[in-house]
Symmetry: C2
Subunit: 308 residues, 2 copies
Amino acid sequence: MIIDTLFEAVKEKGHVCVGLDTDFGYIPHPFACHYDSVAEAVFAFNREIIEATIDVAACYKVQIAYYEALGIEGLRAYKQTLAFLRERGAIVIADVKRGDIAKTAEMYAQAHFTGDFECNFMTINPYMGLDSLTPYLPYLKNHNKGLFVLVRTSNEGAKDIENLFIDTGNREHVPAKDAGILPAPREKVYQRVGHLIQKMGAPFTGTCGYSSVGGVMGCTHAEEAIETRELLNSTFFLIPGYGAQGGTAQDIALYLKNGNGGVVNASRSILLAYKKIENGEIHFAEAAREETTRMRDNIRNAIRVSSF
Amino acid sequence: MIIDTLFEAVKEKGHVCVGLDTDFGYIPHPFACHYDSVAEAVFAFNREIIEATIDVAACYKVQIAYYEALGIEGLRAYKQTLAFLRERGAIVIADVKRGDIAKTAEMYAQAHFTGDFECNFMTINPYMGLDSLTPYLPYLKNHNKGLFVLVRTSNEGAKDIENLFIDTGNREHVPAKDAGILPAPREKVYQRVGHLIQKMGAPFTGTCGYSSVGGVMGCTHAEEAIETRELLNSTFFLIPGYGAQGGTAQDIALYLKNGNGGVVNASRSILLAYKKIENGEIHFAEAAREETTRMRDNIRNAIRVSSF
C-alpha cells in the first residue's frame, strides 16, 4: 500500500509536503533567463527545488492548475516534473481535485494513475457523491495508488457547503423548548464526507493503520482538529493551511496521531523563501531547503511538546 | 453576454448540446485506421461529428477527461477540437469540473478562458464554497465567458452530499409531535448551492433574462424539476441525464421556461448512433446528425405539448 510508503517517509523525513505550485513569476530572473520558454524555466526551477529538498520532504504536491494555465507547453512541464520526481524516488501527490462519475471518472483515473501524468496519489472532489470515487479504487489495490479526497478546507467559503449542518429529519430527540432533553448530535457535511470516505477506504488500509484513501483536511482551530482526528482515526490527512494561511505547528500537531498520520503542504513559503535572504535570487534552492527544514523541525518540536 | 448567444442558439437550433466525450473505442475502425495516432483519430472523428451537427446543435460540450486520459497527445486533440469549434462559430462548454480557490482558481480560469484550451463556458465544482467561483467572474464581464456550476447531478451518489437536507439550527418552528404546526421549509444542499449561484450570477444577467453563471441540473423527476425551475428562475441549465440515463423529453420540458433556459447534453447516443444503422461505420456522421435532429425534435414536441 502506497500509504505505508508515505507513512515511512514521514517517519524518516518529517511532515513537509513541498507544493510545486510553480508560477513563472516566482522564478528568479537570473535563473529564468537561461531558458527559451516559460515551461522550460518552470521545469528547471522545479528540478532545482526537488534536488534541494529531496531528503527533508516527505512528498511533493504538484498543483496542476499552474501548468494547465500554460496550455500544452505547461502540461509538458507538468509531465517532466512528475517524471523527474519518479526518477528521484519521491512520492507525488497530483493536486488535480477532479470529480466526476462513471466512465468520466475512469478516464480521470487513467489520466493520473497511468501514462504521461502518472502520480502516486491524486486529490478528488467528492461533491457528486461516493460514486465519484469508486472508479479509482481498482488502482489502489492493483497499482499501489492512493487518493486524497477533499473533506474540509480552510478557506472562508467552507461555510457554504462543507460546514453546513445536516438535517437528518430526526426530530424525535429534539426537545420542546426548555424541556432539557439533549438534542441528537449534529453532523456537518464535511464530517459526513469524512465518515463515508473512511468507511470506503477501510479495505485499503496498510500495515501502518491508515488507508490509501486519505482526506484533505485544512488546518483550522484546535477544537475542530481534535474532534476530526478522533472521528477519522484511520484516515491519513493532507493538511494545507500552514503558514501563509494561518495554521501553526501547534495546530498541525493536533491533526496527527503519535506524530504521524498526516503531511503538511507548503508551497509559496518554500518556493519564495529566497526573497527573504541576501543574494536569494542566486541561492533560491538552498533557501527552499532551509525553509523546508525549518518547517519540518517546527512541526517535530510541536509534536514533542504536545506529547508531554 | 455569452448567455444571450446561447439563448439565441437554442431558439434557432434547438436544445441539443452535443457531448464530445470521444473515447477511441467509439470511432469506427474503417475511419480510425486512416490515422497514425489515437489522438489524431479522435480529433478527425470530432471534426466529422461537428460538421454534421453544426446547424442542429445549440452548442458542444467537450469532456476533458477523455483527452486527459491520453496524456499530452490527447490534450493536443482537445486543443484542436476547441480551435475547430471556434473556427466554425460554435459555442463550447468545456466540461472540466474544476474546483479550487484563490490563485489556483485564477490559474484554472486562465487555463480555460484563454490560450490553448479557450472555451466559452466552463463547468465548475462548488464543494469548496463560493470563493471557488469568484476568480472566474472578471472573465464573465470582460471576456464574454460563462460558467456552469454543478448544482444537482442525476447519479445515485447525489444522495451523499447534494441531496442532504440542511439543518439551519432553527428549532423554533418545529412542532412537538402531533402538534400540527408546520415545520420550517427544509432546504437541500443543492438548493442552497443553486440559490447562492443565482445570487452571485445576478450581475451577469443578459438581455435574455438569464445569467452567464449557469447551473448543471441533472434531469431527475417531475416534481423536482418544477420546484427547481421556480427556485432558479434566472439560471440557465446545462442538463445531463437525457436518454441513456433515463430522462425523457417530457422531463426536460419541465426544466425549461417558455421553451428556453436550458441545453440538454447527449454524447454516447449521438457519437454511437451509427451502431444502430446498416453500414453505420461508413455513415457515422450522418447517423450522428439524424440522432441529434431526432432528439431536438423530441424536445421541441414535448415543449409544445407541455405548453398547452
